[in-house]
Assembly symmetry: C2
DNA sequence: CTACAGCTTTTCGTATGCAAAAAGCACTTC
DNA sequence: GAAGTGCTTTTTGCATACGAAAAGCTGTAG
C-alpha cells in the first residue's frame, strides 16, 4: 500500500479525479521562458529601457528564437515590455504617472475584493488568513524583506481567492505584480503599519463586516499610494543602503 | 496561397496626406490576424468550444501558421480562447458564473471611471459626451442595434478616457468587449432605460458631481447585471424574434 | 567643420521543416 | 459483444532559413 503513494494504479474500478491532474506536464517551453524573463526583469537584471534582442535571449536561455518571441509578446500584453513595431522589445520604463494609475486601479479592485471576501469567508478561509497574517508578522520580526514581500502577496491573493471571483483575482494578480515591481524598493519602511492594517482587515473579514472590510482595504491601498508619492519628495534625502 | 488582398498598397501620389505623423504602418501581420480572429469569434462565426486548428486558420487567412500562433496566444491572454497545453486552441465558452464575475468587475471599474471623469472633465469633454449621447439616442430611435452597440461602447470609452487613467481605460476596454460579447444578444430590450441613465451620467459629469456620477454609473452597471440574470429565467418563455 | 547621401550591418517579421505528443481508429482477445 | 492494446493520423511545439526594414556608419561635398 505504501509502495505506490501517488503512482498510476488503475487495475480496475474507480479512478480518482485527482489522478488526471497528476499526469506529467510536457513542460511548455514558452512558459518557462516567460517566467525566466519576468524574473530577470523584476530583479532588475534587465534594466528598464533596455533593448532585448531575441537572438541574444535565445542563446542565453539555450533555446531558439521562437519561444522567446512568444514569451516577449505575452510580456507585452502584461505590461512588462514594450514591443515596438519593427524595432524589437524594450523593457518597460515605468513612469510616475503610470505607477500612480496602477496604484489607483489596484485600490479600487482590492477594495471590492475585500468586500467580497467579507461576504463569502468561511471559517476555513479565516483560519488561512490568520495563518498568513502570522507568517507575515514573523517575517516582520525577522526583518526578512523577501519573505515579507511574499507574505504580503500571499495574503492579498488569499483575500482575492476568498471573494470567489476568478476574473477579479486574475486582474488583481496582474496589477499587484507590477505594483510590487515599482514599490518593492520602498516597501520596507511601511511594513509595520501595513501589517497592522492587515490584521484589521482580517478581523473585519472574520466578522463578515463588508463595509468595514472595504473601508480598511481602501485605506490600506491609499496609504501605500501615499507612501509612494512621499518617496518622490524624499528620495534624494534618505539614502540608507 | 489564395487570392487574398494583402493590404500593401503602392506608394503613390503626394506625401502630405498620411505623412502628418505616422508615415504608414509596417502592417504587423499578427495584429491583423488577431483582429480577424476576434471578429470571427465575436460574431459567432467561430462557435464557443470549437477547436481552432492553426493550419486551417492559416490557410483561410492566407498566411503562415506563425502569425496565427502569435495571435492565438494573445487571444488567450485576453480571455477569448483557451490554449490547452499540447492540444491546441479552443474558443472560450463563457459560463454564467464567469459572465456575472465580469459584470461585477466591470461595475467596479466603470464606477471609478465615472468618478474620475466627473473630476477631470473639461468643457470640450462634456461636449464630446453630449455628442455621443445624441448619436446613441438617434440610433435608439432608428432601432439600429449595431449602431446602438457601437454608440454605447463609444460613450463608455469616452468616459474612461476623460478620467485620464490609461491603465484603467485599457482594462475597461478589455472587460467591456467581453461583456458585450455575452450581453449583445439581450442589449436591445434595455436600450431605452440604458440611454436615460447615460443622460443622467453625462449630466453628473458635466456638473463635476463626483459622488453622483459614481452612483449613477454603479446603478447603470448593476441594472445591466440584473438584466443579464433576468434573461436566464425568461429565456425559455419570451421568444419574440 | 558640418550636413547629407548611400551603403553596410543588424534585427525583426514571416515562412517552412521536422520531431514529439495526443487523439482517433482498427484490430485482437476474452 | 465489449474492452483493451497497438498503430496510424493529425496537430502542436520548437528550430531553422530567408527576406525586408530600420538603424548606424562612412565617405564625400559644401
Amino acid at each position: 500500500m505504501t509502495s505506490l503513494p501517488s503512482g498510476r494504479r488503475a487495475p480496475r474500478g474507480s479512478l480518482s479525479a485527482a489522478a488526471t491532474r497528476r499526469v506529467e506536464r510536457p513542460a511548455p517551453l514558452r512558459q518557462a521562458v516567460y517566467d525566466a524573463l519576468l524574473e530577470l526583469i523584476v530583479n532588475r537584471t534587465l534594466a528598464p529601457g533596455q533593448h532585448l534582442v531575441e537572438a541574444e535571449l535565445a542563446e542565453y536561455l539555450g533555446v531558439s528564437r521562437q519561444p522567446v518571441r512568444e514569451a516577449l509578446q505575452r510580456l507585452q500584453t502584461d505590461g512588462w515590455v514594450d514591443l515596438r513595431p519593427a524595432q524589437g522589445a524594450f523593457v518597460h520604463t515605468p513612469t510616475e504617472e503610470e505607477a500612480d494609475q496602477l496604484l489607483a486601479v489596484r485600490s479600487v479592485l482590492e477594495t471590492y475584493s475585500a468586500k467580497l471576501a467579507a461576504e463569502h469567508a468561511t471559517a476555513a478561509d479565516v483560519k488561512l488568513l490568520r495563518k498568513l497574517q502570522k507568517a507575515g508578522e514573523e517575517a516582520l520580526v525577522a526583518a526578512n524583506v523577501e519573505r515579507l514581500v511574499k507574505a504580503n502577496a500571499d495574503l492579498h491573493a488569499a483575500v482575492a481567492a476568498i471573494g470567489r471571483n476568478k476574473v477579479l483575482s486574475e486582474m488583481i494578480g496582474l496589477v499587484d505584480r507590477r505594483v510590487r515591481w515599482y514599490y518593492t524598493p520602498i516597501a520596507r519602511p511601511r511594513s509595520r503599519d501595513s501589517w497592522n492594517e492587515h490584521a484589521e482587515l482580517v478581523a473585519a473579514i472574520a466578522e463578515g463586516d463588508v463595509e468595514r472590510a472595504g473601508e480598511v482595504m481602501h485605506n490600506h491601498a491609499e496609504q501605500t499610494r501615499q507612501t509612494y508619492h512621499d518617496r518622490k519628495t524624499s528620495e534624494s534625502s534618505t539614502d540608507s543602503d
